[in-house]
């Protein structure tokens, strides 16, 4: 529902891509997401794995290192583009909300 409402990435998706600006492996992504969101957003292991699989199949992220049990992922060019696009969209929304708020004042 969140994805439909945002017409883009859901919150866990956005934070996952944000965490993957630098190459990361599974558990480190979970920690970084919690860290950058100040504990507001947590991603469960099942959710994380499902999102990683989906993003990888859609070529939004890529596997750059594989030691058998642990895979390291990074954003692809397409992933970068999606992340920047989402960032701009959110920024525009906040800007619009700010302008709207000022108008009311």
């Amino acid at each position: 529902m969140a994805r439909v409402q945002l017409q883009g990435l859901s919150e866990p998706m956005f934070y996952l891509l944000l965490a993957l600006r630098t190459p990361q492996y599974g558990y480190s992504i979970m920690r970084i997401v919690t860290q950058i969101s100040n504990g507001r957003v947590t991603i469960g292991a099942g959710t994380l794995y499902a999102l990683l699989s989906r993003f990888e199949s859609e070529k939004i992220i890529q596997n750059i290192e594989n030691d058998g049990r642990r895979k390291t992922y990074s954003l692809t060019a397409k992933g970068q583009e999606i992340l920047v696009g989402e960032y701009n969209r959110l920024k525009a929304m906040i800007s619009d909300a700010d302008n709207c708020g000022r108008g009311h004042k």
Binding site: G26, Y27, M30, T42, G44, A45, T47, L51
Partner: protein, 390 residues
């Protein structure tokens, strides 16, 4: 697995209720039973899953159940690595993608995003439907093929040996299977709807699921018993009340290995020239039309015609019976011959009554001779049939 340290229990909680399952495992652990293994005899999410518990000292543990289908062994390893790194310890899994983890301290649940969880459930639900298609299609074809004959070609239908076992087989295998699958699908869809509304009952009590499942299971069992019993009674039909006497049907005494001119097996019946002739005649007279020589009665009117014929036979000292194999028909019972309901077709001509009988082994013809029955009773029989038809 059958030693005293392990306990097996049936799974009465649908696997899409992952929170309920986790709570159930947690409660069992507090009773000293720790989930150790999941297994089922066949593939699928809702077929006879059993839990194997091991007995240890009771303690409080947190469980988490996740539905996940690994693509390969590497994805399985990676999934486990992520789950274990996040604090969940792997307990067991089952082919078909049910994973059970535990932790001694509260951890972040494995599924934190309702959208992602709904996607997983959609896959499960879809797979469940795919599982349903082929077996049900085959069973339906098997069940309705002979019934289809009933509407297009009644005579062939009554010659079909497939008819008798169809109903119990259909009821025993098909109905509960379909009910269970549909129940599972509906449950999945309900949960998906809840997830789309961002509602996930974390403390989902499992008792309700167990009650519903048991109710559903016993409903299926009752249905199966009911249909089986009714089918058995319908098949046996060996004792029929007629004229105040309970008379064993003669079909039980006739092995039907021989006949006058009608083949025994279905194939014979369909291809035997005599049966082709009879079939053609039946088609001609299927609206109980008649000429001076002979007449066929439709099955639905045969009972009525039989009343007259039986009375006539009963009072007719010269009547002789023949089934082509020397069966003794001189007893009184045969004069009230009645085979299972609606499974005979009567043809009369000026000299005899020919009753097309069917028992469990096939078709055969019984000829009752020495009568001038048709010519004497034709008008009365038709009048009675007309009354009944009206």
């Amino acid at each position: 697995m059958s030693d005293k340290t392990t306990v097996k229990k049936n799974c009465y909680i649908p696997v899409y209720e992952t929170e309920a399952l986790a709570n159930y495992f947690s409660d069992m652990a507090q009773q000293g039973l720790f989930i150790f293994e999941l297994y089922n005899k066949s593939s699928g999410y809702n077929k006879s899953i059993k839990f194997v518990f091991r007995k240890y000292t009771p303690r409080h543990l947190y469980y988490c159940v996740d539905l996940f289908e690994p693509k390969d062994i590497q994805s399985f390893s990676e999934y486990l690595e992520i789950c274990e790194a996040s604090g969940w310890k792997y307990v067991c899994s089952m082919e078909g993608g049910i994973f059970v983890f535990y932790s001694e301290t509260p951890q972040i649940p494995l599924q934190t995003d309702c959208d992602t969880e709904a996607e997983c459930l959609k896959k499960v639900s879809r797979r469940n439907l795919i599982d349903l298609v082929w077996p049900v299609l085959l069973l339906l074809i098997f069940a309705f093929n002979p019934l289809f004959d009933y509407f297009t070609n009644p005579l062939s239908f009554y010659g079909s040996d497939m008819r008798s076992p169809t109903y119990p087989l259909f009821c025993i295998f098909c109905l509960p299977f379909v009910f269970r699958k549909i129940g599972f699908y509906v449950g999945c869809q309900k949960k998906i709807k809840l997830l789309h509304k961002n509602i996930r009952p974390m403390d989902n009590p499992y008792q309700k699921s167990i009650r519903t499942s048991l109710l559903f299971k016993w409903y299926s069992v009752c249905l199966v018993c009911l249909f089986t019993v009714s089918s058995v009674f319908s098949l046996s039909g060996l004792f029929v009340q007629r004229s105040g006497h309970e008379i064993p049907a003669y079909a039980s005494k006739i092995t039907a290995q021989t006949s006058l001119d009608i083949g025994q097996t279905n194939n014979d019946f369909y291809h035997n020239p005599a049966s082709v002739f009879i079939k053609r005649q039946y088609e001609l007279y299927q609206h109980w039309g008649a000429n001076e020589e002979s007449c066929f009665f439709e099955v639905e009117y045969a009972d009525c015609a039989f009343d007259f014929i039986a009375k006539d036979i009963y009072n007719h000292e010269n009547a002789t019976f023949s089934d082509g194999k020397g069966t003794d028909f001189s007893t009184e019972e045969c004069k009230y011959l009645k085979i299972t309901q609606g499974k005979y077709i009567i043809r009369t001509d000026s000299a005899s009554v020919i009753i097309l009988l069917r028992d469990k082994k096939g078709f055969y013809e019984l000829r009752i001779s020495g009568l001038s029955l048709f010519s004497e009773n034709k008008d009365r029989i038709f009048a009675a049939i007309s009354d009944r038809a009206d």
